[in-house]
Symmetry: C2
Subunit: 204 residues, 2 copies
DNA sequence: AGACTGAACAATCCATTGATTATTCAGAAA
DNA sequence: TTTCTGAATAATCAATGGATTGTTCAGTCT
């Protein structure tokens, strides 16, 4: 069992190197197998198919991301509003930098999104859980009370789509995207009327 | 001059029929010319190229749309909030129905967006003008006061991307999209705190 | 002179085909 | 028995070149 896991891990590492260097399409199962000193056929005892290796790599990375989001959502000593802001900014920056550093990641994301349409939904649902935790906490501390938290989380995701897959919808630079997210967030939190208090507080 | 315009119009009408029936790629300049009983070369006295005919068709249609938006933005007897809602819903419904009725329209939109990247920006800028007019009016009537109206308009567009090209980002049905837009709009107007008053008013 | 034509050209498309590759599985090795 | 191999298969990809099509322009017609 531990044996099996270590082989799986070896395969994933080999594939990770190939995928990020040559791209998903340009690496063959035979190459990954050779890197692991095994036959192509043997890969299929550990993964149902090529795409599943990619998904495994993506998920591994995504779990780390989720962890860091959870941490941001619960940072003590920060207002709920600040933490919400931190969450969405982290989301934007992570994907932006990831695609900047590993341009091949875009190909992988595209392939997975295309062949496994539910995958993106699963990611969104995971993040919504974090939003809901944050809202629960905010309610307890009397910062704001949201009646339908799950729905509200969906609405926030809907309104911030552009910042979740930044390079996909626009060719804006990161600073411009950040300024725009800042503006959207201010609207989402305070509403059009602005309420008066702390219009600058959010920009800090 | 009037002569020239009528020929242009004839070309546009012929192209419109072909494009919506067979698609942009599948109709040839020769066919459009034949429909107008003229040679292919003659088309180029009226349009710089094939894409410009498509753009002309799109723009004609878009101008009508803009007009209807302007009307909605200025409907007397409605609150600014209601009118803002009407605007965004009209936007959603129009594109949704257009693509449902003319599936070929998607191809044309894609081609134009790809070859003329500035076109989409021009459309967005036009609509922002309407938002700004609406905000001016709202300010005058004391409904809400927005400091930077142009920027606020940009933020609203940013937050409602998903509903501007509905079939592009999701496979949701119109009713689901409407419910989602409704939720996003409520957030945008009232903010997360909800302010207390009229949580149901927006859903009416 | 101005309006228009249609053959010519270059760019693009697209079907065909030959090569590559993901996946399977009968059987070898341990 | 369990683990693994590697040739066989079917699906996909990439190259090719022949046909199609957007665009031009020398020249005809009015």
């Amino acid at each position: 069992m531990a044996e099996k896991d270590s082989v799986r891990c070896q395969i994933v590492e080999a594939a990770k190197k190939r995928f990020s260097h040559f791209g998903y399409a340009k690496t063959t199962m035979a190459e990954v197998a050779a890197d692991c000193s095994m036959s192509p056929g043997n890969l299929y005892r550990f993964f149902p198919g090529k795409l599943d290796i990619a998904e495994c790599i993506a998920t591994e990375d995504y779990q780390r991301h989720l962890e860091s989001l959870r941490k941001l959502a619960m940072t003590p000593g920060k207002s709920a509003r600040e933490r919400l802001r931190d969450l969405l900014f982290e989301e934007l920056r992570r994907t932006y930098h990831k695609l900047e550093k590993y341009p091949r990641a875009h190909e992988m994301a595209t392939v997975i999104a295309h062949e496994r349409p539910q995958y993106a939904n699963w990611m969104l649902a995971n993040e919504r859980k974090i939003f809901v935790e944050l809202f629960d906490d905010a309610e307890q501390k009397g910062e704001f009370a949201i009646s339908d938290k799950e729905t509200t989380a969906e609405m926030i995701q809907s309104a911030t789509m552009k910042f979740r897959y930044p390079q996909l919808w626009s060719k804006l630079t990161l600073p411009k995207l950040e300024r725009e997210l800042d503006g959207v967030l201010k609207l989402l939190i305070d509403g059009l009327c602005g309420i008066g208090r702390g219009a600058t507080e959010a920009a800090a």
